[in-house]
């Protein structure tokens, strides 16, 4: 099936060329970092994780979000999702590859990465995260490939694959739960030390993943003659709306706990994110514009989707706009604010702000470009098979 990636319109090749050059920039930046050390990033003794780990955290969510397509189809036998289930599985593959690349980019001694396997340490959540991430990646590769091959041969998929399909469902939940446990099990980091982190991660994942799939569907409708169908889109927007509302609700609960109890440790990070944290006469507010933009986008996206439901109208372009707004809002929430604010203030109640460097941004963009490159190839294969079957 890989041969499907070798034929395409000029737009396809231009898109791949753009991504390819971004990937090249990413590698060039990475070689610089590899030669000098992580000092080329904006991270510091106080903010010891930066963009790499925050992107990793967000993308684990995108990978888990594929569950919202797989689950209705396989468990509830919701046939409308038949054409896009494979998109969810392939998105998970691309997102997980990005996750693993971000982890490697973040290691101080990347060549020692295999030490996690040589010295397995069950009391470290990172060990379990590695297990579930690799497990979910392999499951999606297996299920996606076997089911697509069966579709191409126009035979029903072999029975044994359903065991792995059903196994992948709890795995999807586990990848984001364990990723949340990296954070919420640490004493002394008040912002992360909250039992609602895992549920909140899942809620935002179930909105971010489907949003990205909707955006991909819009692109493929324009460039690849692929129509996902109105009913599937409407169902996806319903899922996204519920997930966004639940995520917003969970976040507001964090606000209540912090500001009603007035326990300083519970307020500091929220204050830093939304209002700026005053410390020794200086105000630290790097993330404030991002967070308020995210809030605006969050409610605007939700508003557009709600308006379409209430007025019973449907416009795929408007849906795409809402999906973009929601995706960006959730990215700012989890891919920026959540990780960075956890380090403010530091354990000695000092404030250090984090600003990524250009080199770091180059690597980050390079990894994202790699993910989209892979996603493009995978979706090209999936669509190629569908078109072939239709002919």
């Amino acid at each position: 099936m890989i041969e499907k990636t070798l034929k395409g319109k000029p737009a396809y090749w231009i898109w791949l060329a753009i991504l390819g050059s971004l990937i090249a920039i990413g590698w060039a930046c990475y070689f610089r970092q590899y030669a000098y050390g992580l000092g080329l990033t904006g991270m510091s003794r106080d903010v010891s994780w930066g963009l790499y780990i925050s992107q990793f955290t967000f993308l684990v969510g995108v990978a888990a979000g594929g569950l919202m397509l797989v689950l209705p189809y396989y468990i509830h036998n919701y046939k409308v999702f038949g054409r896009i289930t494979i998109l969810g599985e392939f998105l998970a593959i691309a997102a997980l590859v990005m996750c693993l690349m971000f982890i490697m980019a973040d290691l101080g001694q990347p060549l020692r990465g295999l030490n996690v396997l040589f010295f397995p340490t069950p009391h470290s959540m990172l060990f379990w995260d590695m297990c579930v991430l690799w497990g979910y990646l392999l499951l999606n590769l297996l299920c996606g490939w076997v089911i697509l091959t069966a579709e191409r041969k126009q035979v029903p998929p072999p029975k044994w694959i359903y065991f792995f399909v059903y196994l992948s469902l709890p795995f999807a939940v586990s990848i984001h739960t364990v990723t949340a446990m990296l954070y919420c099990g640490l004493p002394g980091r008040h912002f992360w030390l909250s039992a609602i982190i895992a549920p909140r991660f899942l809620a935002s994942a179930f909105a971010a993943g489907p949003s990205l799939i909707l955006i991909a569907c819009a692109v493929m409708k324009k460039f690849a003659n692929f129509d996902v169908g109105e009913e599937a889109v409407k169902k996806l927007t319903t899922i996204i709306m519920y997930a966004v509302i639940i995520n917003t609700f969970f976040f507001l609960l964090e606000f209540f706990v912090g500001y009603y109890s007035e326990v300083p440790g519970h307020m500091h990070a929220l204050e830093y994110l939304f209002f700026g944290l005053e410390h020794h006469g200086e105000v630290y507010n790097n993330l404030v514009p991002f967070m308020w933009t995210a809030t605006l986008f969050n409610f605007a996206g939700l508003g557009i989707l709600a308006y379409m439901k209430i007025s019973k109208m449907f416009d795929f372009r408007l849906v795409t706009v809402a999906a973009v707004l929601i995706f960006l809002a959730l990215w700012a929430d989890k891919g920026l604010g959540f990780v960075f604010a956890g380090f403010v203030p530091n354990p000695l109640e000092e404030v250090t702000e984090y600003v990524p460097t250009l080199n770091e941004l180059g690597i980050t963009i390079g990894v994202w470009a790699t993910g989209f490159f892979l996603l493009t190839l995978l979706y090209k294969i999936a669509l190629g098979v569908e078109h072939e079957v239709e002919e």
């Binding site: 050390g37 101080g108 001694q109 030490n115 010295f119 340490t121 000695l348």
Partner: protein
């Protein structure tokens, strides 16, 4: 006949598989038992009198600890500089000017930074204007050890020191996020050009690994005191010894004086005590 052979092969395959995986399972379960043991969960229930802020005591073995008597440091703030300089020299600690990349084993900080959970209201001038030493607490239940995915940081069983294997550390910095005391530093670049006075008796580090105070494990092995303790010799500013030995000097000090620990609410049970 064929059927029997098929059955036999299946059985044989299953047996071999079980044989291969059993040691792995045993290994996994045994490491977790050891780990929770060093984490302190397995410690027998403490007697009611011992359940206070100073934490439960291990029934046996050595647990090294430190009492920092601030009364000596209030009088002579230069003493702290001497202790820090001794540590820097003993461990080839690089002196990096950029605070973002600093490497700190023992360093100076304010009371409010050291004890943020204590009220900072209406503190005496003496406390407000004095610098306090901060260092790794060598906790009885260290969250950094729990977080480390490669056991590159671990509790030395014979003395309770939280040690580091610089050659195993992959530089994931999970331990830095996990430490509630900010005791860990990461080598954001090659530290060697920043070493002022090279000491051939202690290894230098490479970039990409985490480091911190090691309670001078290498000096203890030679029968010496920790460098900071030695630098304060004669003043009694830092008392070092076995917290599990009821006849040790440190226990006598702890019996007589009111001491506090950093962030007891984190549940890590620090081995460093302060007389403020």
């Amino acid at each position: 006949m064929d059927n029997k052979r098929r059955k036999f092969l299946k059985m044989a395959g299953a047996t071999v598989l079980a044989g291969i995986s059993a040691p792995a399972l045993v290994k996994l379960s045994s490491t977790s038992a050891v780990a929770s043991g060093e984490g302190g969960h397995e410690a027998p229930a403490a007697s009611p009198g011992n359940a206070g802020g100073h934490g439960e005591e291990q029934p046996s073995g050595v647990r090294l600890g430190m009492v920092i008597d601030m009364r000596n440091f209030y009088q002579d703030q230069g003493l702290l500089d001497k202790a820090i300089a001794a540590c820097v020299k003993a461990h080839n600690v690089p002196q990096i000017p950029d605070p973002k990349s600093e490497i700190k084993w023992i360093w100076k900080t304010g009371f409010g930074n050291l004890f943020p959970e204590h009220s900072q209201k209406l503190r005496s001038e003496k406390i407000k204007n004095s610098q306090f030493p901060a260092l790794c607490n060598h906790c009885d239940n260290p969250s950094c050890v729990k977080a480390c995915p490669t056991k590159a940081t671990f509790v030395v069983e014979k003395n309770g020191i939280v040690a580091m294997d610089f050659h195993r550390c992959i530089g994931c910095r999970f331990c830095m996020a996990a430490c509630p005391y900010g005791a860990r530093s990461f080598n954001w670049q090659d530290p060697r050009p920043f070493i002022k006075e090279y000491n051939a008796d202690f290894p230098t580090r490479m970039r990409g690994v985490v480091e911190k105070c090691n309670f001078c494990g290498e000096r203890l092995a030679l029968g010496l005191e920790p460098a900071c303790v030695e630098a304060c010799k004669g003043t009694g500013a830092i008392v070092f010894g076995d917290l599990n030995d009821s006849h040790s000097e440190i226990r006598k000090v702890l019996d007589q004086e009111f001491t506090i620990q950093r962030k007891p609410s984190a549940g890590t049970m620090p081995s460093v005590f302060y007389i403020v």
